[in-house]
C-alpha cells in the first residue's frame, strides 16, 4: 500500500444548491510537494477546506494521516493557510504568532523561529494591518509553520510575492518535505508556471481532477511543452 498523507475518495460537496465537487478522488503522497492547479473557481479552495475539515461535505471520504479529516487529533498536525491572510490586523506580528503558538502548544521561542523562516525578522513589532499584502500573507504562513505540522495545506500562498521571496519559500517547502520527519505539502495555485516547482501535480477543472502525475510524467503522457499546454490538451481530450 502506498503511503498517503491525504486520501480523498468520491468526495461530493454541494454549496448553496450548486454541486462544486461531484465525486472527486485524489491522493497526496507523504513528503511530496503536491501542486493543486486549476483555473479560478474550479473548486480548489473547496477541496482544500475539505482536507482541513472545515468544509461541510455531502458525501465521500477524506482521510488525513489515516484519520477522518477534521478529527480533533489532527488539529495540531495540519496547518492551513487561507487565501486571504487570517491574522489579527490590530496585533503586531509577534503578538499574533505568540497567541497562535499558545493555542497549539508550541514552545515559547517558536514565534521567533517562524518569523525568521518567512523573512520577517525586523518586523516583529509592526502591526499586521500596517504591513504590505505580501508581508501579511507571510505572517499567515508563519502561523501555519508553528509547532511541528505534518501536513501543510496552503491556498495560493505565493500570490503577489516578489520572485526572489517566492523562490525562497519554495526552497523552504522542499527542505521541510525532504527532512527526516517530512512535512507533506498540498499547495493550490492558478498560476501554471508554479507547476515545475512541485514534485506532484493535481490538475483540476470544474470540480474534477483531470490528471495526477509528476510534472515530467504529465508532459510525457500529453506530449505537451509545458503544464499550461498539457492542461489545454487534457481539456480538449475530455470535452
Amino acid at each position: 500500500m502506498m503511503n498517503y498523507a491525504v486520501e480523498v475518495r468520491d468526495l461530493r460537496v454541494v454549496r448553496g444548491g450548486q454541486v462544486v465537487l461531484p465525486s472527486l478522488s485524489a491522493q497526496v503522497e507523504v513528503g511530496s510537494v503536491t501542486g493543486l492547479l486549476g483555473p479560478s473557481g474550479c473548486g480548489k479552495t473547496t477541496l482544500l477546506r475539505s482536507v482541513v475539515g472545515v468544509q461541510r461535505v455531502a458525501g465521500g471520504e477524506v482521510r488525513v494521516l489515516g484519520m477522518p479529516a477534521g478529527s480533533p487529533v489532527l488539529r495540531d498536525r495540519i496547518g492551513y493557510v487561507t487565501q486571504a491572510p487570517s491574522v489579527y490586523g490590530d496585533l503586531s506580528v509577534v503578538e499574533n504568532l505568540r497567541y497562535f503558538a499558545a493555542v497549539i502548544g508550541a514552545p515559547p521561542d517558536d514565534p521567533e523561529r517562524v518569523i525568521a523562516t518567512v523573512g520577517l525578522a525586523g518586523k516583529e513589532t509592526a502591526r499586521a494591518d500596517r504591513l504590505s499584502g505580501g508581508q501579511r500573507a507571510r505572517v499567515s504562513l508563519a502561523a501555519a509553520l508553528l509547532g511541528t505540522p505534518k501536513v501543510l495545506v496552503l491556498d495560493e500562498p505565493t500570490v503577489g510575492l516578489d520572485p526572489a521571496l517566492r523562490a525562497e519559500l519554495w526552497a523552504l517547502f522542499h527542505r521541510l518535505a525532504t527532512a527526516e520527519d517530512p512535512v507533506t505539502f498540498l499547495i493550490s495555485s492558478h498560476v501554471m508556471d508554479e507547476a515545475s516547482r512541485c514534485t506532484r501535480l493535481l490538475l483540476m477543472r470544474e470540480g474534477r481532477i483531470l490528471a495526477a502525475d509528476t510534472p515530467r510524467g504529465l508532459l510525457a503522457s500529453t506530449g505537451a511543452r509545458d503544464v499550461e499546454d498539457a492542461f489545454l490538451r487534457l481539456v480538449g481530450a475530455t470535452s
Partner: protein, 245 residues
Amino acid sequence: MSLRRTTATARRVLEQLRHDPRTIALMLVMPCVLITLLKWTFDSSPHEFQAIGAALLGIFPFIIMFLVTSVGMLRERTSGTLERLLTMPLAKGDLLGGYALAFGAVALVQALLVSALTIGPLGLSVAGPAWAVVLVAVLDALLGTALGLFTSAFARTEFQAVQFLPAFVLPQFLLCGLFTPRGQMQTALRWVSDVMPLSYAVDAMDKITSRSAVTGALVADIAIIAGAGVLALALGAVTLRRRTD
C-alpha cells in the same frame, strides 16, 4: 477546555484593546460622563436621580459590552481568524471563555470607576453593600458580552452588527423598569419583561440601593442574571461551527 488556551485568548483580546486606546477610553470614560450628565439633568429633582441612576449603573455596562463584543466577534468571523482558530486545538469554550475573561476584567475596572463616581461625588445613596453594586454591574457586562458573542453570528457585516443594538437591546431597555415600574405594565408587556434578563439587573440595583440587607430576592436576581449569561454563552457556542458551507 484548557486553562492555558483560555488565558492566552483573554490576553490576546486585551492586547487588541491595548492597541486601541480610543475604545478603552470610550469604555471607561463614557459611562462616567453619561452618569454625570444624568445627575446634572436631574439637578432639581434628586430623588429621580436616585431611582434612575441606580438602574443605569446596571444598564450601561450591558449595552457597552454588547456592542464591543458583537463587533469584535464579527471581525473574528470575517477576518478568517475564527476559521483558523477552529482548525487548531482550541475548544469553543476556550474562545468564549477567553472573551468573557478579558471583557470581564475591563467590566470590573469600568464598574469600579462608575460606581465610585456615582456613589461618591454624585451622591447616589446606596443602602446595601457597595460591592453588590459592582458585582451586579460586572455580571451585566458579562451578560452583554455573552449576548454580543451570540448575536454576532447573525450579522454579515459590522454595519448589521451595530444595528442589532436597537433590535436586541432597546426592547429590554424600554421594558426593564427604567421608564415605568414593571409592576404597573400591561400584563402582556409584564410577561415579556419577565423573560428579559436586563429587567433583573434593574430590579437588583433597586434592591441594593433601597435595602441594607442582602435578601434572598436579591440573590435570586443575581442568579438569574448570571444564568442568562451562561445560557447566552452556550447559545454562542452553538453558533461556532467548525464545518461551514
